[in-house]
Symmetry: C2
Subunit: 406 residues, 2 copies
């Protein structure tokens, strides 16, 4: 008998029928002889609806109050799922984040789990209960409710799997696994049966939305195998774990893309120490998260500084950067929206040369201009025109032979 | 500076505008120099909507899970009210029943408050916060969430007023006070400026829905003055407290009525000890709450036993009673729906004769037949035909001169 942690996303529990469907899946696992702990998100659009309610009352809602408000969404779905299991004749109990012993810091709306005290969960499992835990939430030392930010329920699930030493953390949602590219963009993309944590982390960070990066990091740190699968279809999904098989190490594993890229270039920046800080510290203080930064080689101590951000943040970022650009004597500031990102990812890259060359060559043959390049040990990312992202994904998917096998 | 506990019902917080309106009322009290603790119900139909959600999943929802589910309604309204106060520039914090230190027994769906540990409330008041407490809920020793049953938010408010030694508990809802009769039935009914706990208790138990009897009992026990007033209009409301003025003691204070009465008569019951228990124990076990019981004087050891219940419970009650009636050798069982109740209430009655006579005489002149009579020290109730209840209320209101003054 193994302990399994399952996590069901918001679309999987949107409505009575879907909740009953989830209950049947849980029962299957239980009938196979396992103890089951289930983490649920709020039903469908509940969280967004609650946020709207708050903003109708106050344009700048207090973060503590907002966290308490949002935490009710997961409490509702967890109780309904417990009731569904009871209706099918199985013992189950719902626990809030606080009851499940999930302690966090007091950083409302983006709290970090500091520790988990799983005695209540363990006691309920010993009683024979299926334990349903409200995801996305925890409690501070002062017993104030916090939420873990976007992707929080994934984090709850992996953290519980770690502390309970579960055999695996199964994450069910409306996608049936990790693909070699986004199947909505590229129908011939293939589902991967397994993938390593690091590759997965690069893929979710660079465009795949299948699971939150925090959850993958946590899974890697504690060595929790994570299975990403569909809550609607009976398909095996993708196993995220430590080692991928020897045979597939030397390969690109997936093509990630992201259409949400805006670019700002500060032209003619005097190149001396401290300039970058003068630009990026105020941006960070304005809550703008910078993605890629590229500084061209300096010519006569004058350089161009380019960085990318989310499209929705372009106006705010320009408002922050323009006065700074003037004050440091830069020539001008250019911002525009029509950019995208395409990345090739695979642990194989770190030991073998030639991947970058093949990527650039492929894009060149498609007549796709590369604006910026960034790399990690297991990833190469090119910023290209948004309108050409789809062509790039298709060409790279073919060039790296991802359409041949998964 | 006094401490005031205010309680706002579901209609008072149904929607953003009403929540802001409530916030303005709270601020008025605060600006008058008071510390304010506010208890809120769930917004509008929230509780009923959550109950429907549960029953769509499971026809017999587990009571523990249902309590957790329902408790979210008050948490939502309390956070939104705190946000509204912030928006108007006032410091406020919402607390769940658990955070407010409200401990209960584990009788889910109808839990009783066992103790209140108000340290968190006191700390927040000392910080200068307006404290918003989610009504209707508490927490067991095991940190499981409970609800207090219907009227629970009233109970929360009065209990907090008692433990915090508040100057008063102000209960705001869509009625602007206690009237000499239901103003929807009798437009000439007068608002009472004050009323004693016992009279109020009889009035709410016998048909007035203005406040829950548990809250009145609790208020009486701890000597908490309760003010019932409208959250929409600026009117003084009615003060429920220990002593009414000398001048108005010797009077009927109000006419209560109730249209929700069904009657069952077990005809020809052999009159020997234990018969009543044989009938009423199974009814109690079936969850049927019996209102009035009348047993006619025995003739040749054969008697008729009549009792009244809520209309919605008639079918279930008949199904329980009929087989018992057969087994004890009763002649037959007759149940019907078309009954109502009218009561005159006033502490004056306990010291002065003639009230019953005047009541019966008044009904007789109106040609209203009395089916059953029950009395307490300060109340006389007649069960009459439902169709004649309105006539009875009007006639009694006039006969006891309630239309002359309040």
């Amino acid at each position: 008998m193994a302990l399994i942690v399952q996590k069901y996303g918001g679309t999987s529990v949107a409505g009575a029928n879907r909740i009953k469907n989830v209950a049947r899946r849980i029962i299957k696992k239980r009938e196979a002889g396992h103890q089951v702990v289930v983490v649920v998100s709020a039903m469908g659009d509940t969280t967004d609806d609650l946020i709207k309610k708050a903003y109708r009352i106050n344009e700048f809602p207090d973060k503590r109050e907002l966290d308490v408000l949002l935490s009710t969404g997961e409490v509702v779905s967890s109780t309904l799922l417990a009731m569904a299991l009871h209706g099918m004749g199985y013992p189950a109990i719902s626990l809030s984040g606080a009851q499940a012993g999930i302690k966090t810091d007091a950083a409302y709306s983006r709290a970090r789990i500091t520790s988990i005290e799983p005695t209540r969960i363990t006691r309920e499992l010993e009683k024979g209960n299926i334990v349903i835990v409200a995801g996305f939430q925890g409690v501070t030392e002062d017993l104030d409710i916090t939420t873990l930010g976007r992707g929080g329920s994934d984090t709850t699930a992996v953290a519980l799997a770690a502390i309970l030493k579960a055999e695996a953390c199964e994450r069910y949602t409306d996608v049936d696994g990790i693909y070699t590219a986004d199947p909505r963009l590229l129908p011939e993309a293939k589902r991967l049966s397994e993938i390593g944590y690091e590759e997965m982390l690069e893929m979710v960070t660079y465009g795949f939305k299948a699971i939150h990066p925090r959850a993958v990091e946590l899974g890697e740190f504690y060595g929790v195998p994570i299975i990403v699968a569909s809550s609607f279809k009976e398909k095996p999904g993708t196993l995220i774990h430590k080692e991928v098989s020897m045979e597939i190490r030397n390969k690109v594993r997936g093509i990630a893309h992201d259409l949400d890229v805006a670019k700002i270039t500060v032209v003619g920046v005097p190149d001396h120490p401290g300039i970058a800080a003068q630009i990026f510290v105020p941006l960070a203080e304005a809550g703008i998260s910078i993605d890629t930064i590229v500084q061209n080689a300096s010519v006569k101590n004058i350089t161009d500084l380019t960085f990318t951000i989310e499209k929705s943040q372009l106006n705010v970022a320009m408002a922050v950067v323009e006065p700074i650009a003037r004050s440091i004597g830069a020539e001008k500031c250019v911002g525009d929206l029509n950019w995208g990102k395409v990345s090739i990812i695979g642990t194989g890259m770190q030991n073998a040369p030639g991947y970058a060359a093949r990527m650039f060559d492929t894009l060149s043959k498609e007549n796709i201009n590369i604006q910026l390049i960034t790399t990690s040990e297991i990833r190469i990312t090119c910023i290209i025109e948004e309108a050409r992202v789809k062509d790039a994904v298709r060409a790279l998917h073919h060039a790296f032979e991802l359409d041949k096998e998964a």
